[in-house]
Symmetry: C2
Subunit: 277 residues, 2 copies
């Protein structure tokens, strides 16, 4: 078994489950293709049966034979031997959307939590969409007001599940007008890169570099270069002033190096997704 | 009569007309206070009576005695002697929202058009909200898809009324998720600064410098520093890749110099709007 950590597939929500299924197919490919053993974790949602069924159907159509759902409606569930066994054998684990706080509060510190990290370190592919994307980082956005200008008070942050360091992830980015809330997060913590993922779009991270796949773009917001902010002493509902934020928009095929905080442009980048209509 | 051009009050739409009326009051103050002679231009809207009545009422409550509306439903209207006379005597002209193409197509090249530029050059205050804000620049956004990632095809641009050079203005910015369409505009024309104005927010421009007033923020998007874009040869619906865009978020009290493309930070900036709840 490989001792290189597996890829992370971090999805901005509303990924295609009925058409081409580009993102789900890529997850399956990374997890071993037809021989993948997939576990769909529905812990984030209050409707595990419905949500689970959608993914069972999608992965079935893609041609995965070994796929099962696993719900955690209370913390005891997360220590069940059957669950432990399923994840021990899985080549890919997929977290559905819902509420990211359900993931951290129901799963955090359980045997499954420990096992997911161990298996991911050994090479297992881990994917998450929407809430399942947000929880990937060390610090995550749990709530926030969309479609407004940046203020500290519009974004609530909390510890995440610690699969990626140095970033704060937001999903449904363009579709829900979340520039203001992601700016509010990185303005306070400019060490963290803000990563806004559009719907039906994902980044696939391996080592320090990710590549974008899917229909939209990933917007990287780097407050490291801030030339001015009015933050020190600012109150919760005061308007944030930010000067010199750097922004990158990366559609399908484009790459970014998280450690160096720079896009990785190669000759093929600008032809990468040109065939898509 | 002054030969310094008058201030421009450029409003992101949905400005308060019933409460504190901060932006409208500032427009009135600049136009001479209680002695202002205001003309409300309803040319952009298909509902000139309703929209006009809202502003008559608002300016009346603010204490302006001399306020009238002027509609242009066809190009002949725009050459009417009564209209010419009203604008010759006005100290402030206010363009309502609606469709910016109605402004450029119904008013463009008429006597009123010429007169508005002449009077503004002589010191008359000019204000516009929403469509009335977009038309202020040399090149304007006339239509665009909100809440999506940048693509050339999502933004339609056209000649504006040429009151401000070097910028492209978008309004309802945070509220309608318009980052993608403003990025699409400035990616193609990085000479132009993208200025996204939130609702109930405005910038007041005098000479090369503007100051922000109102409830939200003005977001300045500068594509001049682009380190990479995939634009050359890109087709209309291809996804744009943009690296190294600079972004500034400027709430009430903050200043920006359009010629130098830099925020103007002074010691008072960060206290400027702190008293607002």
């Amino acid at each position: 078994m490989s001792q290189t950590p597996g890829p992370l597939v971090v999805i901005g929500g509303a990924e295609d489950k009925q058409g081409e299924c580009r993102i789900l197919r890529e997850f399956v490919r990374l997890a071993g293709g037809a021989h993948a053993r997939i576990v769909v974790m529905t812990v984030a949602t209050e409707f595990p049966l419905e949500v689970g069924a959608q993914y069972l159907e999608a992965f079935d159509r893609i041609g995965v034979e070994d796929v099962r759902t696993f719900d955690v409606s209370n913390r005891e569930n997360a220590n069940a031997p059957s669950a432990v066994k399923a994840i021990e054998q899985a080549t890919g684990v997929f977290f559905t959307g819902g509420d990211q706080v359900r993931i951290t509060s129901l799963l955090g510190g359980t045997k499954i939590d420990t096992l997911l990290h161990k298996r991911h370190q050994e090479g297992m592919v881990l994917a998450g969409t929407s809430a399942g994307a947000s929880m990937m980082s060390n610090t995550m956005i749990i709530e926030g007001v969309p479609e407004t200008n940046p203020r500290i008070g519009i974004v609530d942050m909390a510890p995440g599940m610690e699969f990626i360091s140095g970033v704060v992830i937001d999903q449904h980015f363009a579709q829900r007008g979340r520039l203001g809330r992601l700016l509010s997060a990185v303005a306070q913590y400019p060490h963290h890169l803000g990563i806004g993922i559009d719907e039906n779009t994902a980044f696939v991270l391996q080592d320090d570099e990710f590549v974008v796949i899917g229909a939209g773009a990933v917007t990287v917001i780097d407050a490291g270069a801030l030339t001015y902010s009015n933050l020190p002493g600012l109150r919760k509902n005061d308007d944030l002033a930010l000067c010199g934020v750097t922004l990158h928009v990366l559609p399908g095929g484009y790459r970014f190096n998280l450690r160096d905080r720079v896009p990785v442009i190669d000759q093929n980048s600008d032809k990468a997704d040109r065939t898509r209509s």
